[in-house]
Amino acid sequence: MEEEEEEARALLAGGPDQPRSGAPAASGAPSALCDPGRLAHRLVVLLLMCLLGFGSYFCYDNPAALQSQVQRDMKVNTTKFMLLYAWYSWPNVVLCFLGGFLIDRVFGIRWGAIIFTCFVCVGQVIFALGGIFNAFWLMELGRFVFGIGGESLAVAQNTYAVSWFKGKELNLVFGLQLSMARIGSTVNMNLMGWLYSKIEASLGSAGPTTLGVTLLLGGMTCILSLCCAFALAYLDQRAERILHKDQGKTGEVIKLTDIKDFSLPLWLIFIICVCYYVVVFPFIGLGKVFFIEKFGFSSQTASAVNSVVYVISAPMSPLFGLLVDKTGKNIIWVLCAVTTTLVSHMMLAFTAWNPWIAMCLLGLAYSLLACALWPMVAFLVPEHQLGTAYGFMQSIQNLGLAIISIIAGMILDTRGYLFLEVFFIGCVSLALLSVVLLYLVNHARGGNLNYSTRQREEMKLSHTE
């Protein structure tokens, strides 16, 4: 009690960002860090929030970074290999609707983040044990458990962000969280292959045990995330005590009956979302061996090329976000992104040009699409249905990823890489068709999806008059 009173008095005495007059800098710094209202403390919390998702994103793409090793050591074909991705997506078809509910009503944000991070850790450990015991079904189970935690952890991360940061800072925070996630993916791509070869050298032979040990070591990042979850829970509880702020909530209300109210443009956006992401993530999952076999790259270079999409996405997502915010005209940007992806896949399929170019284009297109597509949902759907719309979008995105991952593996085993790329081109073309239809429908109905920012502000002003 006394401790709390002291802290509260200290809070009232100093302003939010004013240095204490007369107090030496040494004593000022720790108290700024410990003061939940001050920027320094919130930066610490921001760092923890970013690291919270690091482990999950690092481990998500472990199979892609170790594709040849997994296929060789566990003796599986590509179809079974892609099941590692499919099993991650299956639980999220349902959990996308439940994430908000679980955080708001059942666990609370603090325990929710801890529980989801535990799922991530346990899932990765089971995945690694599947390697050590040479049981592929155990690996699939591990990915399933990992998937239960992974996507819901992202919801928890976002909820923490909204709770601690408001207004203009929030976009920056979301951007930083996304960038950190992408850094995690990039580090995974470039590190795991090297780590495997080091373990192989020290254990003396390749095999399922080597694979399992490598995955366990990679899982240490999940332990880091778990520590961050605990730290955040403690700091959040402390801030609630000191600042008397409420525990963060997602505020999402999911009503599945709202789905019948979705308009045609919204369904077209859903189709674009599904068809687009299935040509990015499964492709990256299979990309490393593609670059080794078609372009003759070494394992290290192939991993680096494969990670280019994430490397580019980290800095470009905030920049493109700014661009789309300033100019509006979302449909045109989506059209640009989808066309660029089509060009990129055609380059990879029909030419032997340096794949760095195609992958850079893919990275730019992927970042642009994310910034232009998701906000359009908010233009089409009233606020009380937004949670359902986003939840549904993510649910079918995961469903599409799960199904197409398996189909991609099957195509690769029977028909080869050219046919796989042509299949992806077909999916992008479907997305392109949907964008074209969206533009036409929007134009015909006089909709506001493609308004420039100025037009949108004029509309807002005319509504308030």
């Binding site: 060789r72 074909n77 590509t78 390749a206 061996v289 076999e293 078609k294 372009f295 003759g296 399929a349 029909f350 030419t351 032997a352 040009w353 690769l412 085993d413 029977t414 028909r415 080869g416 890489y417 050219l418 046919f419 042509v422 299949f423 081109i425 077909g426 992008v428 073309s429 392109l432 068709l433 964008v435 074209v436 239809l437 036409l440 134009h443 015909a444």
Partner: protein, 403 residues
């Protein structure tokens, strides 16, 4: 799909070229030597009931050319390939000469002036390497003593002759087998001729024409001498001119028919009109050949060899006379990690042998169709929808003038 000029040492990238467009147009059926699309193919095992039944004569007759393939396991497995410019040429075998120690002149194609091209290929040795050698050793590893294919005893091929599929199989094992390595094993050479162009269902699905025949080499059941032995085969061709030329590695974007194999290797035997040997650098370690059992195939460069260091083939000597200069290369299958012969004690590799320009793969109609729909539909919808909107706007603007 690529136009590769002179082959360079090691791996090289190709870019698509006008050949891509041309091959798209020719994607229905490639033309064979002298434009022959189909041939009348007949297989015979010449000789009399007591003769060694291990000589196969394949005669592929076209409208104004004939191809003779003489496959034989008298000595090491070998093939003599002769192309003539008439549909009436015949193969003449002098058995006494052929089976004597000096077989020169035992094999002739008459009329001799009609012979446009002739060449030979001999499979001299079965090689074996120790795959688990130290990293410092050069791949494929330390060699075990090789099996000379001249010291094999071969089966009677009349039993394995299938006129319906135009194929025959030579199967053999070493005459002297002290270690019993081939007690339950054999090395088989399956020869198949074709009457028209097509593509077999079995990987690596090499595109063949009427001017080619296919050879599938299969090693089954032989006991390897190490835990992870890599097998290989040594091939010799007749030396022509001062240097032996190179194996051309053609890289392409198309791996539809051999998943994850983007390369086609070929060796030209002689100058125009020339024969060729074509293969995909892949072998399979399971009878259900597929991507999971694909082994990489490394080809050594061609090096000139003198006749005395190679097992001699009576058939080649019978047709070409005593030859001093040969060019040999060896193919090794597999690597020390991944699938290998040790999985199921099975190894199979295929090649094409033929005359004229080697067949060129083209994109399948399915892919072309998907691309046409994928690229065309959004464009058409945009055009169509745009037109509709324009017309609607013109229509509605007429109404706005009314108060």
């Amino acid at each position: 799909m690529c136009s590769c000029g002179e082959p360079r040492r090691g791996w090289r990238r190709c870019t698509p070229s006008p050949m891509l467009l041309l091959s798209l147009l020719l994607s229905t059926a490639p033309f064979g030597f002298l434009g022959e699309e189909t041939r009348q193919v007949s297989l015979e095992v010449p000789g009399w009931p007591d003769s060694p039944q291990n000589l196969l004569h394949i005669q592929a007759v076209g409208t104004n050319s004939t191809l003779h393939y003489v496959w034989s396991t008298l000595g090491p497995p070998a093939v003599v390939l002769v192309a003539t410019n008439t549909s009436h040429s015949v193969l003449h075998i002098n058995w006494t000469r052929l089976l004597s120690p000096e077989p020169e002149g035992g094999l002739t194609v008459l009329p001799m002036e009609s012979v446009q091209f002739s060449s030979a290929l001999i499979f001299t040795r079965l090689l074996e390497f120790d795959g688990v050698s130290e990293a410092t050793a050069k791949p494929p590893g330390k060699p075990y003593p090789s099996y000379s294919l001249a010291e094999f005893s071969w089966n009677n091929i009349t039993n394995s002759l299938h006129p319906d599929t135009l194929s025959a199989t030579f199967q053999g094992h070493p005459k002297d087998d002290p270690t019993g390595a081939f007690a339950n094993g054999s090395l088989a050479f399956r020869v198949q001729a074709f009457a028209r162009s097509g593509r077999p269902a079995r990987p690596p699905r090499l595109l063949h024409t009427a001017d080619t025949c296919q050879l599938e080499v299969t090693l089954v059941g032989a006991s390897p001498r190490g835990n992870r032995s890599l097998f290989g085969i040594e091939v010799a061709t007749l030396g022509r001119g001062p240097d032996c030329g190179r194996i051309q590695e053609q890289h392409s974007i198309d791996d539809e028919y051999a998943p994850a194999v983007f390369q086609l290797d070929q060796l030209l035997l002689g100058s125009v009109p020339s024969g060729f040997v074509q293969w995909r650098p892949v072998a399979f370690s399971q009878e259900q050949a597929g991507r999971a059992s694909a082994l990489s195939c490394q080809a050594s460069p061609l090096h000139p060899t003198l006749a005395h260091s190679l097992p001699q083939s009576p058939v080649v000597q019978a047709f070409f006379g005593l030859q001093q200069n040969y060019c040999t290369f060896s193919l090794t299958f597999g690597a020390s990690t991944g699938p290998g012969y040790w999985d199921q004690r099975y190894l199979s590799w295929s090649m094409l042998l033929g005359v004229g320009p080697p067949p060129v793969d083209a994109l399948s109609p399915l892919i072309l169709g998907i691309m046409a729909v994928a690229l065309g539909t959004p464009g058409l919808v945009l055009l169509g929808g745009g037109l509709v909107l324009l017309l609607r706007r013109k229509h509605s603007s007429e109404y706005q003038s009314i108060n």
